[in-house]
Every structure is written in structure tokens, then in C-alpha cells.
Amino acid sequence: MNNVSTGERLKVKKESSWIADNIVTLIFVAFTIFGFMVSDGVTMNFFLTELSSRFFRNAFLVLSLIIPVVAGLGLNFGIVVGAMSGQIAIAIIRYFNLGGISGLMLTFLLAFPISALFGYFTGVLYNKTRGQEMIASLIVGYFANGIYQFLFLFAVGVIIKVPATHPMIKPDGVGIRMTVDLVPVEDGGLKYALDSIMEIPFMWAVLIVAAAVLLLQLIRLAKNAKNPVFSTNKKRMTYINIASCLIIAGICAQAILTNSSLMMVRKVPVVNALLIIALCVFNELILRTKLGQDFRSVGQSQHIAEVSGINVDRTRIIATIMSTVLAAWGQIMYLQNMGTLNTYNAHTQIGMFSVASLLVGGASTQKANLKHAIIGTVLFNSMFIMSPEIGQSLFGNALLGEYFRTFMVYGVIGLALGLHVWRTNKKGKITLD
């Protein structure tokens, strides 16, 4: 009798904790659906076009946050430092009027040592501010912004002499302009250098992804057919996944065959997508290596890791360097898609938005994986697109929606962090008692 009630209690608790674990994700799903219901101005076309271009701009940056979380550094707001390194590389390439695919490769190459160096410094700082990494990473972003502005507003022109006639230098010869045009790739610039290599229609892309996921699920099912550990719950999830893949594939096939309005959605940049997939694979693979295991053990307990002979400080610095370098590349991908370099603004929000995206996907300060990053990026950007529309249609004021979305960004980060700490503290108390 007693046993049964305990079992039931546990079950109830499990259910409610699932909701608590995913509360942020659920809020965002509800918000996006709500947005579709109230705003009639948003067509599926517009939404998908916006979403796909935003996704391919931001996914790489969000993915760069995973390694520090695994290594126990928490959410690395310091990817702003990486973003700035990427922008320095872009500015150098732009200054020498290089461009095209080779120019882009050179940008990536150039960004590597710059961001690795700054990543190293950031990592050393995190080791000195152990336990307070997250606030330190936020402040280091602001600090680096000061140095960045010193470099671009003052050093360029006063210390490094540049011709005032250059299109990216301010007319008085000191400092770089607020916005720098990156010149379309046809004219030998960086704009769309990556996107324009190859593009396929959106629906074809979705079809391919759906087919790939379907294949993976089938393999998984076949592999685990005789495995008793493969629970019915997981099996059910696999069936649901297969069904949804089939439905999506069906919709795509229908759209392609009838050439419906969905075919008007903006084309998908293939190379960009491949790079994102490559980073996903890289993230998965690195966690299987010795280094990845080190990340994990340091993330779980620095003390135990140290005792078992792992160089904790070094591992944490490597994790930070990786994150910073990836963020630099992510920012380059972001900017080649934007086409202009907002010299003093492009990087400031990157940290917040990427962290919020990851958290929306269900990650926490100690747990993050690819699924969180991908789902989070999709959901967060959906909210970003819908928010002004909701403000417009409910209150007749798009500005309201924009303020609301800022609130959501900060609120989500605050809520997710707060809930996590609160739960950890509660757990700690129970064991202590």
C-alpha cells in the first residue's frame, strides 16, 4: 500500500518536474502559436523566409556555447569577445579590399589566431573568477567592447595611419565608420560570399532534412529492435518522430509538385547549412575524445577531475578558446549574410541573444546539447519575428512588441538561471537534511 502511494507520488513529481524543466520552452511554443492566432498580417511565407534566414545567421553562434557549458563554465556571455575578433578580421579584409570565396576563407583563417588569443585571455580570467564565471563573462564582454572601441575609434587613424579617403574610414581620417558596406560578392566583396556558393529552394531543403531524420530514426529503431533497455517510452517517441517526418515530407512533396506559394520562401544557403551540420558533428565527436571526457569530468566536479590527474585550468582554457574561435567564425557567417558591418553595434547583443536561444531550447547552466541549440534557435527567432506583429495587432503599436521582445530576452535568461539555481539549492538542502 505504502509502496504504491510512493510510486504514484514519484510519478506525479516526475510529470510536474518535466513541465518545470521545460517551462521556458513551453512558454515560447505557446507564444508563437498565440502569435499566429492573433496576427493575421503574417503569412506562412513571410514567417518561414524570416525564420530560415535568421536561423542560418544565428545557429553557428548558439552552437558555440555548448562546449563551455559541458566544461562547467556556464553560459559563456563572453562569445562577444569572439564576435569582436571576427569583426576585426572582417575589417582587415575589407580594408585591403579582398573578397570572394578566397577572401572569406582568408577571413576565417585570420580570425582564428585573433580569437584564440583573446579566448586564451578570457579563459585565464575565468580561472581567476571561479564560481562567478557567468557574471565575469558578461562584464568581460563590456570590457572588451571598450578596448574594441579604442582600437577602431582611436588607434585606427591616430596610431595606425590610414588614408582618410578609404570608404571605411571616417572622413576626418580617424576611426572606422559606424556602418561599413561589405561589397557584394560579385564585385569582389564579402557580402553573401558564403550564401551565394549554392542555394536550393526551401522546400527541397526541408524535404532532405526530413528524409535524413527519418533514416536516422529507422536505423535507431532497427538497431534497438531487440534491445530490452530500449523502453516503450523511447519507442513511442521514435514512432512519433517518424510520423511527423513523414507528414513534413508529404507537405514538402505536395508543395514541390503543385508549385504552391510555399515554394516562394527564400532559398536556403547550402554551404552555410553544411557548416552548421559540420559543427554539430564536431561538437558530438569532440565529446567522445579524451579531451571531451576531460570537459565532462571538469564540468561535473573540478575537484574530482583535479584529483584524477586532469589539468583543470588548462581544460577550462581550451574550452573557452574553442568557444571564442567558433563564435568568431559564427559572427563572420552572420555578417556576410547581413552584408554590412555595424561596426559598433553588431556584436553587443550577440551574447544575450545566443544565450537566450540556447536556454529557450531547454538548456541550463550545466546541461546543453545540440538539440537544445537547434530547437532553441528556431523557437527564439520565431518569437523575435512574431513579437512586433502581436504588438501591432493586439495594441496597434509595433514598438510595444519590440519592448516586449527585449523583456523576453532578459526575462528568459533570468528565469532559466534563477530556476536552475533555485532547484539546485533545494536539492542541496534535501541531501543536507
Partner: protein, 358 residues
């Protein structure tokens, strides 16, 4: 001979330790800037007047850091929470049609209970997230400012002194001249030292700052204040001696939030404008930096740190602007300097925080 040398070295080190490395570096830097400014022919009396004015404006906001640091929750990165309470009271007071001194007093009268309630809730929140107070506080502050952006836009206030010309909502900056509130405290008993172009002493504002400092100083000598400090130094020991730490942390954060609310009212009247919307977003960081420059750490702070810190930091900023403009025309070096010093000093303080550990 050797002994003496060592002794001298020792005392030098001790002096540095006593003053604090950040205070010394930033202070010396400020002095160098002032001397450079003197050579460049910048009016010293204007500089000093501006320094006093800005120190008085920012002083109470910096003072708000003392209770939260002493209670062990770290610098109050959620200062914007208090700030929006103050701003809300301020606009309410305008809406009700108060002007002049009544406006100021009514703003403060609204602000104190409001900030106390909000501070209580905020203290509760901080107790729930022990160990990560600073990060959570920062995001609480950010969220509240963002939420208040929505509120400012939707508040159905009718007073034409604050509204947009079209549509609902409040303006981004509200001129306090319109209610006779601009520099109202500064001008109270204002006098100048050294003739027409001498140093202007904004007596009223400095008095208010002084009174607030005195109250906080006195409070931390009372039984309740000492209990708060004890909880901050060693929570376990304090708990063992029968001090209720959680309650004390809430008390300290109420005090901090109230000081933030009063601080922004004093700041706004000195500035002449009340800035709404995203203006309070980053207000915590300069305040945190100022108290750290004064010699405080993330776990220990005194009222004297506030006074020293705010004068050095604001003095540096006021001096840097004209000096940098004279030396390098057309660059915004002082703003860059502010960012680097402000955030650098916070980072330095964070590296000194104990805990976390391997």
C-alpha cells in the same frame, strides 16, 4: 642598513594594501589627468564644480551598494530595480500635479514605501538563489527595466508635461524644468568659493547625500546593522550565534533598493531630466565600479569607500572629457576610458572573490 631597507619596503607595501591597489592606481591616474589639464589651460574651478556636482548626483546610487555588499549578497547589480521604483514615484508625483519642493518631497514619500515592498520581494528572490546572486541580480535588473519599458508606454497618464505629442505613453526624457524640479536641491543654499568663476558648491544635494551616508553609517552601528554585517562575513558562524541570515539579507536589500530609488530622484533633479525606458539598464555598473574604486571589495564595504570612490571615479570622468578632447580632437576617448576603467575594475574585484574553488 638592510633591516631599514626591508622595513621601508614593508611599510610601502602596507600603505598600498591599506589604501587599496585600485584606489591608488585610479587616484594617481586622476591626478595625472588634472595636472595635464592644468598645463592645457582647462579651468580648474569648472572641473572641481563639475566633479562635486556629479559626485553628489551619483553618490546615493553608490551608497546603495553598501548594505547589499555587507549582507553578503555582493554588489547590488539589480540597482535598476530601485531606480525604476524611484522613477515611477517621480512621474506619479508629476502626474498628481505637484511642483517644486512639494514635488520632490512627494516623490521621495512615494518612493520609499514602494521601494521597500519591491526590495522585500527582491530580497526573497536573492535568498532563493544563494550562490549566484550577482548573475541573477544583473538579469533581474535587466528584466525589470525591460518590463518597465512596456509600462512607460502603456501608462494612462494624462499630464501633458510627460506624454508624447501623439498617442499614449510617456516621453523618453521628461524635463523637470516644467515642474520646477530641475536642480532644486543643487540650488538650495548654493554658494561659490572664490568669486564669480569660483567653485560652485551644490549645498542642498551634498547635504542630502551626507544625511543618507550618515544614516547608513549609523545603521551599521546599530544592533540590526551589525547582525547584517556578521551574516555577510561568515554566514555559518552568524547562524550559530542565532542571527537570522535570510531576514537580514532581505533587510539589507530593502535598504539598498530604497537608496536606489532616492538616489535616482536626486540624480534626476541634478541632471534636470528624468530618463525613462532603457536609460536605467546600465546604471548599476558605474555605481559598482565607483564603490570598488573607493576601496571596497565584493564582500566588504564602508561608507567611506562610497565617498572616496564616487569622488575619484566621477572626478576622473569629468576631467577625462575636456583633457582628451584637447589632446586628441574629435575622438570620444573619455567614453572609452569609462568603459575600460569601469568594467576593468569590476573584473578585478571578481577575481578577488573567494569561493567557487576547485
Amino acid at each position: 642598513m638592510v633591516e631599514m631597507k626591508e622595513k621601508g619596503k614593508f611599510s610601502f607595501k602596507e600603505t598600498v594594501n591599506k589604501i587599496g591597489l585600485p584606489t591608488l592606481i585610479i587616484g594617481v591616474f586622476w591626478l595625472i589627468l588634472i595636472i595635464t589639464g592644468g598645463f592645457l589651460g582647462i579651468s580648474m574651478s569648472t572641473l572641481l564644480s563639475d566633479t562635486l556636482k556629479r559626485a553628489g548626483m551619483n553618490g546615493i546610487l553608490v551608497l546603495a551598494m553598501v548594505p547589499s555588499i555587507q549582507s553578503g549578497t555582493g554588489p547590488n547589480f539589480a540597482l535598476p530595480v530601485g531606480v525604476v521604483c524611484g522613477l515611477f514615484s517621480l512621474v506619479c508625483s508629476i502626474e498628481l500635479g505637484f511642483t517644486g519642493v512639494t514635488w520632490l518631497l512627494m516623490s521621495m514619500a512615494f518612493a520609499i514605501p514602494l521601494a521597500a515592498v519591491v526590495g522585500f520581494l527582491y530580497g526573497k528572490l536573492l535568498n532563493a538563489v544563494k550562490g549566484s546572486e550577482m548573475t541573477i541580480a544583473t538579469y533581474t535588473g535587466f528584466s525589470i527595466v525591460a518590463a518597465m519599458c512596456l509600462a512607460w508606454l502603456m501608462i494612462p497618464f494624462k499630464n501633458p508635461k510627460m506624454g508624447w505629442f501623439i498617442g499614449t505613453g510617456l516621453r523618453e526624457t521628461i524635463q523637470l524644468d516644467a515642474v520646477g524640479g530641475a536642480q532644486i536641491l543643487n540650488n538650495f543654499w548654493k554658494f561659490t568659493i572664490g568669486g564669480e568663476k569660483g567653485i560652485i558648491i551644490p549645498t542642498g544635494m551634498l547635504l542630502v547625500f551626507g544625511v543618507c551616508c550618515f544614516i547608513v553609517w549609523l545603521y551599521f552601528r546599530s544592533k540590526s546593522g551589525i547582525a547584517i554585517s556578521a551574516g555577510g562575513i561568515n554566514p555559518r558562524f552568524a547562524q550559530a550565534s542565532g542571527i537570522e541570515i535570510d531576514n537580514n539579507r532581505i533587510k539589507a536589500n530593502i535598504l539598498s533598493t530604497v537608496l536606489g530609488a532616492i538616489g535616482i530622484i536626486v540624480y534626476s533633479q541634478g541632471y534636470g531630466y528624468a530618463q525613462l525606458y532603457s536609460a536605467p539598464l546600465m546604471m548599476a555598473f558605474p555605481a559598482v565600479a565607483a564603490i570598488l574604486i573607493g576601496g571596497a571589495t565584493a564582500s566588504r564595504a564602508k561608507v567611506s569607500h562610497v565617498i572616496i570612490g564616487v569622488i575619484i571615479f566621477q572626478g576622473l570622468l569629468t576631467t577625462a572629457l575636456p583633457v582628451a578632447n584637447q589632446l586628441f580632437e574629435g575622438t570620444d576617448l573619455s567614453e572609452i576610458l569609462r568603459m575600460i576603467i569601469q568594467n576593468g575594475i569590476i573584473l578585478y574585484a571578481l577575481t578577488q572573490v573567494k569561493g567557487g574553488g576547485k
